[in-house]
C-alpha cells in the first residue's frame, strides 16, 4: 500500500479586503504519495503558488484540511508550523532566495544550523550535498558570482540538505533558459527519487512535464484536471 504524504482535502482560500473577497483556491483536493513528483500547471493567477504556500505551512486555508506527513497542519500553532517547515519541508524558489552575503556552502549550512546541526557536521553535510549537485568548484563563491542554473542548484541543495520528506518548488525554472531549466527539472526529480521526497512543483513551464509522476491543472483556483503520467 502506498503512503500518502500530502493530503489536501476540500481546501479553500479567500483573501479579503474591506470591499472585496477574492477566492484564490476553491475546493481543491488531491494526494501526493511518498517519493511522487507532482506538477501543478496553470496560468498566472490560477492560485498555484497560494496552494503551494498552504502545503508548505506558510499560509493557512480558509477552510478544508491539509495533512502533511500524517499531521494535520490546519489549526497548528505558529511554533509547530515553523518546526514543520524546518524539519519536514524543503523549498525551492523561482528567485532562488539565497542570502547574498553567505557563500554557496554557508547558504546550505544555514538550513542545517536552523535545524540544530552545527560546526563540522554541518559543513561536511552541506559540502557533500553541493558536490553531489555538481557545485564542488563553487563552494566559496557568493551567489552574485553564480549563473542562474548554479543558483538554483544551491537552492535545491539547501532544500534537500535536511533530507526532508517533502520538497516544494515554486516555478524553479522560471528564471532559467530552456536547457538549464531542463537540467534543473531533472535534478529535482533525481533528488526526489533518491531521497524519496514527495515533491510538488508549481510551474507554467510545460517543458518539464517529463519529470512528473502526476500532473494537476489548476485554473481560477479550481482543479480542472488530474493526470497520471506513465513512466
Amino acid at each position: 500500500m502506498t503512503e500518502v504524504v500530502i493530503d489536501v482535502k476540500n481546501v479553500r482560500k479567500e483573501f479579503s479586503t474591506k470591499y472585496v473577497t477574492v477566492v484564490a483556491i476553491d475546493d481543491v483536493s488531491f494526494e501526493v504519495e511518498k517519493g511522487e513528483v507532482v506538477l501543478i500547471l496553470g496560468p498566472s493567477g490560477s492560485g498555484k503558488t497560494t496552494l503551494l504556500s498552504m502545503i508548505g505551512c506558510i499560509m493557512t486555508p480558509t477552510s478544508g484540511e491539509i495533512r502533511v506527513n500524517g499531521k494535520k497542519t490546519t489549526g497548528m500553532s505558529e511554533q509547530d508550523l515553523v518546526r514543520m517547515r524546518r524539519e519536514d519541508i524543503g523549498f525551492v524558489f523561482q528567485s532562488f532566495n539565497l542570502l547574498r552575503d553567505l557563500t554557496v556552502q554557508e547558504n546550505v549550512e544555514i538550513a542545517l544550523n536552523l535545524n540544530g546541526i552545527k560546526g563540522k557536521e554541518a559543513r561536511e553535510r552541506a559540502r557533500d550535498v553541493l558536490i553531489d549537485l555538481g557545485m564542488r568548484e563553487r563552494l566559496t563563491f557568493l551567489p552574485a558570482d553564480l549563473s542562474g542554473g548554479e543558483k538554483q542548484r544551491v537552492s535545491i541543495a539547501r532544500a534537500m540538505v535536511n533530507s526532508p520528506k517533502i520538497l516544494l518548488a515554486d516555478e524553479p525554472t522560471g528564471n532559467l533558459d530552456s536547457k538549464t531549466g531542463q537540467i534543473v527539472g531533472n535534478l529535482l526529480k533525481t533528488q526526489a527519487k533518491e531521497h524519496e521526497a514527495s515533491t510538488v512543483v508549481v510551474t507554467h513551464d510545460n517543458r518539464i512535464e517529463s519529470i512528473a509522476d502526476k500532473i494537476l491543472f489548476l485554473e481560477d483556483g479550481m482543479l480542472k484536471m488530474e493526470r497520471r503520467v506513465s513512466s
Partner: protein
C-alpha cells in the same frame, strides 16, 4: 554556526566603520565626563583619606570640605585640650594661591599643617624630605606641577602668592580638585595667605579645620559629639566628613547633574547609532529574513541574529571608545591637570548600559522582522 549577523554587518565595511566610530566617539564623551566626575570626587576627599585624623573639627554649621568655608578662630579651639579623649589636635589651613614658576603662573591649593604632628601633611613623597619644611620659607610641591612645567623643581625657588619659596621636596598624588597641592608649615602658610589677602579672616592662631586624634580605647564618635558642644564648632568622625563632602559634590553642587547629563547624552547617542544601523541593515534584508522564516527560522533565531548584530557593534565600538578615552584622558590630564579617573566600575557600567540601550533600540527592528510574511519568498 554561520553568522548571518556578522555577514550582514561587515558586508558594508564603510558603514560599519562609521557605526563603531560613532559608538566609540559617544562613549569617549561618556568616559571623559564620568572620569572627570569620579576624579573630582576622589580628589575632593584625598586629604581626608590621608590625614590619619580621627575627627575633623569645623566651624559651626559646616559639615563638609567643599560647600561652605570653615574658619575657626584660635580661641575657639582652646577648650579642645580639656575634652576627655582628645590626645592631640592639629590645625589645618588651606587656601588657593597662584604660584609663579619661571614666569608661568598656576593656581594651587596650599595646605598649612602642624609639622610636629604631621597630620595633614604629604602622604607620599616622590623626592625630598618632609623635615626640611622646618626651614623658613620652604614648600613641598605635587609631582603634577613638575609635570606641568616639565622641570624638576627641588632646590629651586618659586613664587607662592608673590613670596619666594624654596622647594624642598615633591609629593605624589596630592591634588584638590583640579588644583595641585603645595604643602608648607602652618606658620609659613599664615604668612603666605596674609600676604595674598586671599582670606583676610585668617589671622594668627586661626585655622580652617582642626584635626583631632583620640586617645586609645576612646570612641571617636562619642568624642566628636563632645567636641560639638564647644562654642562655635562642629565635629565629625573622618568617615562622616568624607561622606558629607562626597555627598555635597555629587548631589548638592549641581556639577554632578551637568556631568550626568553629558554622560547620558553620550549613551543615548551611542544607542541611537546602533539602533539606526541595525534598523538599516534589517530593512535592507527584509526579503532575506522572509526566506529564513520560510525555511524554518523561528522568532528566537531572528532575535539571535539581531542581538548578535547589536553585540558585535557595541563591543567593537566600546573597545574603540575605551582605547581613545584613555589616550584622550592622558592628554587632558597632562595639559589641564583636570582630574580624570576612569575606573573599572565606569567601564563595566558603560558597556552594559550601552548594550541594554542598544538592545532596546533593536526591538524596533525585531518588530519589523516579526511582521515579515514568509510568503514574501513567493513574490518575484
Amino acid at each position: 554556526m554561520v553568522s548571518i549577523a556578522r555577514k550582514n554587518l561587515f558586508q558594508d565595511k564603510r558603514r560599519f566603520l562609521i557605526t563603531i566610530s560613532g559608538i566609540g566617539a559617544s562613549l569617549i564623551l561618556v568616559f571623559i565626563t564620568m572620569g572627570v566626575f569620579t576624579g573630582s570626587v576622589d580628589n575632593s576627599v584625598t586629604i581626608i583619606d590621608h590625614t590619619h585624623a580621627d575627627i575633623w573639627v569645623t566651624q559651626k554649621g559646616v559639615s563638609d570640605l567643599l560647600g561652605v568655608g570653615s574658619v575657626l578662630p584660635g580661641n575657639t579651639l582652646q577648650p579642645l585640650d580639656k575634652i576627655d579623649g582628645v590626645q592631640n589636635y592639629s590645625k589645618l589651613i588651606m587656601s588657593p594661591l597662584a604660584i609663579d614658576v619661571y614666569g608661568s603662573q598656576l593656581k594651587v591649593m596650599v595646605y598649612g599643617y602642624n609639622l610636629s604632628t604631621g597630620v595633614g601633611g604629604p602622604w607620599s613623597m616622590a623626592s625630598g624630605n618632609i623635615d626640611d619644611l622646618r626651614q623658613n620659607g620652604t614648600i613641598i610641591v605635587d609631582q603634577s606641577i613638575e609635570a606641568k612645567f616639565g622641570k624638576q623643581l627641588t632646590g629651586d625657588s618659586i613664587s607662592v602668592g608673590g613670596i619666594p619659596q624654596k622647594v624642598v621636596g615633591v609629593s605624589r598624588d596630592s591634588k584638590w580638585f583640579t588644583f595641585p597641592v603645595v604643602f608648607t608649615s602652618y606658620e609659613n602658610a599664615q604668612k603666605l595667605f596674609g600676604s595674598s589677602s586671599v582670606d583676610p579672616k585668617i589671622t594668627e592662631d586661626m585655622a580652617n579645620y582642626a584635626l583631632v586624634n583620640v586617645k586609645p580605647n576612646y570612641d571617636p564618635l562619642k568624642v566628636s559629639k563632645e567636641i560639638s558642644t564647644m562654642n562655635g564648632t562642629d565635629a565629625f568622625i573622618t568617615s562622616k566628613i568624607r561622606d558629607n563632602t562626597r555627598h555635597w559634590l555629587i548631589f548638592d553642587s549641581g556639577a554632578a547633574m551637568g556631568l550626568a547629563i553629558g554622560a547620558g547624552v553620550g549613551w543615548v547617542i551611542a544607542a541611537i547609532i546602533v539602533t539606526l544601523t541595525i534598523y538599516t541593515v534589517t530593512i535592507e534584508r527584509i526579503p532575506e529574513f522572509g526566506t529564513l522564516k520560510a525555511i524554518g527560522a523561528s522568532k528566537k533565531d531572528v532575535y539571535k541574529i539581531l542581538l548578535e548584530q547589536v553585540f558585535v557593534s557595541v563591543t567593537l565600538g566600546y573597545t574603540i571608545g575605551v582605547i581613545c578615552s584613555f589616550i584622550a584622558a592622558a592628554a587632558i590630564v597632562k595639559s589641564t591637570l583636570l582630574p580624570i579617573n576612569i575606573g573599572s566600575d565606569t567601564l563595566i557600567l558603560a558597556f552594559f548600559l550601552t548594550l541594554i540601550l542598544s538592545i532596546l533600540g533593536s526591538l524596533v527592528s525585531a518588530r519589523k522582522v516579526n511582521k515579515v510574511d514568509p510568503a514574501i519568498v513567493f513574490r518575484v
